[in-house]
């Protein structure tokens, strides 16, 4: 639709009253047409970052916000050509659905025919045909968020901003709207910044994800990079579940001795902790196992079940296992942890060996 534009934040920090630094000086580049997800727990600075990009909030002195080549730092939001979707919809209760969606177009003083045309177009895009005359309070949560979405894209903004748009919806609806938003973003090709605390949402929507922690970006990368090569323990733990195995000693042949067994990982020499994801650990017969332990708890999750396996370490290992099999508490169990699934933030990941994968 409209030409998309890149976003650059340069040394943007934000301090609130009481010396409460919400945002450390931050440099961030969002490429034109890209969807960047800001992901993190509450209080990490993601919403502040979004509000600085939108112009609702100003960075402290010295910060700079660029849209493409244009310095927009001093511009208020109404002059920045953005479309924003808010967590609590922020629909105008005094206007109908159609009036809400057309609001930005009327502000732009577009000719009436053009407004009607665009209204039709976006209502079709968000699947709201026939809802134009409804009152806002007669809509369900999902419909409200569609209206909000339609309102934001109707003005054909250069940048689309999402502030936890799905947080107020229930799980089923969230999944469906997430897919729709993903399709829409791809269709539009507009530069988008999407704030969420939900990792599934981040994975599904982000071309790149910026994981934020305590006012800083902890890691910036594609979903795959973030998941498989987390930059630190925080990221590893925040995105998905992760097991930490303490290395007790290193053998002469390079084997890492951990509670309950020994691991082979040439790429992880010298580390004190080894990380791996629950779903990467496989259950094997005890005599083939890298690590042995006893099942202490099993949690049925439907598609899979999560086993807690005590290997003698401080906390049990979490393992994902097929859901139909039974492991009563106390069952001895063998686990395979091939080197390809072991990682450490400071070390590069093991080159994935296709043959090894096939053998497993």
């Amino acid at each position: 639709m409209s030409s998309s534009v890149s976003i650059t934040l340069h040394q943007c920090s934000r301090t609130f009253a009481g010396d409460n630094t919400a945002l450390q000086p931050l440099d961030l580049q969002v490429n034109a047409g890209e969807t960047l997800v800001l992901l993190g727990p509450s209080g990490c600075g993601k919403t502040t970052t979004l509000r600085i990009i939108s112009g609702l909030e100003s960075p402290d002195k010295g910060g700079q916000v660029m849209f493409g080549e244009r310095d927009v730092t001093a511009l208020p939001i109404e002059q920045r050509d953005v479309g924003m979707v808010f967590q609590n919809y922020a629909l105008f209760p005094n206007m109908s659905v159609a009036d809400n969606i057309a609001y930005g177009l009327k502000i732009q003083r577009l000719p009436r025919a053009e407004i009607a045309h665009r209204l039709d177009e976006v209502m079709h895009m968000v699947d709201l045909q026939g809802f134009g005359d409804r009152r806002i309070d007669a809509l369900s949560g999902g419909q409200k968020q569609r209206v909000a979405l339609a309102r934001a894209i109707a003005v054909r903004p250069k940048v689309l901003l999402f502030d936890e748009p799905l947080a107020a919806l229930d799980a089923k609806l969230r999944d469906r709207l997430r897919i729709e938003i993903g399709q829409l973003l791809r269709e539009l090709g507009t530069t988008a910044v999407y704030v969420t605390h939900d990792q599934d949402e981040a994975m599904a929507l982000g071309d790149r994800i910026a994981v934020m922690q305590a006012g800083r970006i902890a890691q910036l990368g594609t979903p795959q990079e973030i998941y498989h090569q987390p930059a630190n323990a925080f990221v590893a733990d925040f995105i998905g579940a992760v097991n930490c195995l303490d290395v007790i000693s290193t053998r002469a042949d390079g084997g890492l001795v951990v509670n309950g067994g020994e691991l082979i990982a040439a790429h992880l020499q010298g580390v004190s902790t080894v990380y791996c994801r629950p779903e990467d650990i496989q259950v094997v017969s005890v005599d083939q196992a890298d690590v042995k332990g006893k099942v202490v708890q099993s949690i049925f999750l439907g598609q899979t079940q999560r086993l807690m396996v005590d290997t003698g370490g401080a906390s049990p290992l979490q393992i994902e296992a097929p859901s139909r099999q039974r492991w009563p508490n106390g069952t001895a169990i063998g686990l395979a942890l091939p080197s390809s699934v072991l990682f450490h933030p400071d070390k590069p990941t093991a080159p994935v060996n296709a043959k090894e994968m096939a053998n497993d």
Partner: protein, 262 residues
């Protein structure tokens, strides 16, 4: 059984309180409509006293209405922006300013009136005009308008709606008149009813500020209580009630309306 008894006792008590509240009102209304209150109802019902009050005090009623409407206009013109300003100010400042604006309500009207008299009483023109009273009424009613509008603004999530409008390119003026005002209409309405009711009934400030040429309804009431026969005072009170009770009903109705919205 026990709860039945408790209910009856509480109901009885509440009815007694109701009697205390309503009996004098009913007596006053009756007195205003009977030919001769000393004789009682058997002297017959009449509108003679109401008529007489109208002859004597019509101008006070008109002045009160004029004052209330002028007061309403001013409190809307300065109170709605003020509420918006408070909403948009930093909390510490907003609290301090609200506290200040409340002072004319927190301090007895007598004191406010005295302060006004001693400061501006020497300006003869101003002192003698109804505008002098208007100033007192505006000071006294403004906090009610501000508070009513502000509370609706706060529950309407107005800052967020405004952010949404701004993100769609609306300028401040467009946001204020297109989003802010329409979404706090219920607050303005509630505030307006309050302002008019308070202004019509205001006595403490007005008594000190009035002149023989600028008597309002309550001033006239006090006057008639002191110098006229009981029936006239009662008839006058009746007229006042007829003016104020619909406003009170409307206030309750508006209150219920805003509650439903929440």
């Amino acid at each position: 059984m026990k709860s039945r008894l408790r209910f009856t006792l509480q109901l009885g008590f509440t009815l007694l309180v109701c009697l205390f509240m309503i009996v004098p009102v009913v007596m006053s209304v009756m007195a205003g409509l009977t030919e001769n209150y000393f004789v009682g109802l058997e002297s017959g019902l009449t509108l003679r006293w109401v008529n007489e009050v109208w002859q004597l005090y019509a101008d006070t009623i008109w002045l009160s209405i004029k004052l209330a409407l002028a007061c309403l206009l001013i409190t809307i013109l300065i109170g709605v922006p003020a509420a918006y300003g408070l909403l948009r100010s930093r909390r510490r400042w907003a609290n301090a300013i609200e506290e200040l604006l409340l002072l004319p309500v927190a301090v007895p009207g007598l004191a406010t009136a005295l302060a006004l008299l001693l400061a501006y009483g020497s300006y003869r023109e101003f002192r003698g005009s109804w505008l002098f009273i208007l100033v007192g009424h505006v000071l006294f009613t403004l906090p009610f308008m501000v508070r009513a509008v502000l509370s609706v603004m706060q529950t309407a999530k107005l800052p967020q709606l405004e952010e949404a409008a701004a993100s769609l390119g609306a300028s401040f003026r467009q946001r204020f008149f297109g989003v802010v005002i329409p979404n706090c209409m219920s607050g303005i309405l509630a505030g307006a009813l309050m302002v008019v009711t308070l202004s019509i009934g205001e006595f403490n400030i007005t008594w000190m500020l009035h002149t023989p040429l600028t008597k309002t309804l309550p001033v006239g009431l006090a006057d008639s209580y002191a110098s006229m026969r009981l029936e006239i005072g009662s008839a006058y009170t009746l007229i006042f009630l007829v003016m104020v009770v619909p406003l009170l009903v409307a206030i309750q109705w508006a209150g219920r309306l805003t509650e439903q919205r929440r």
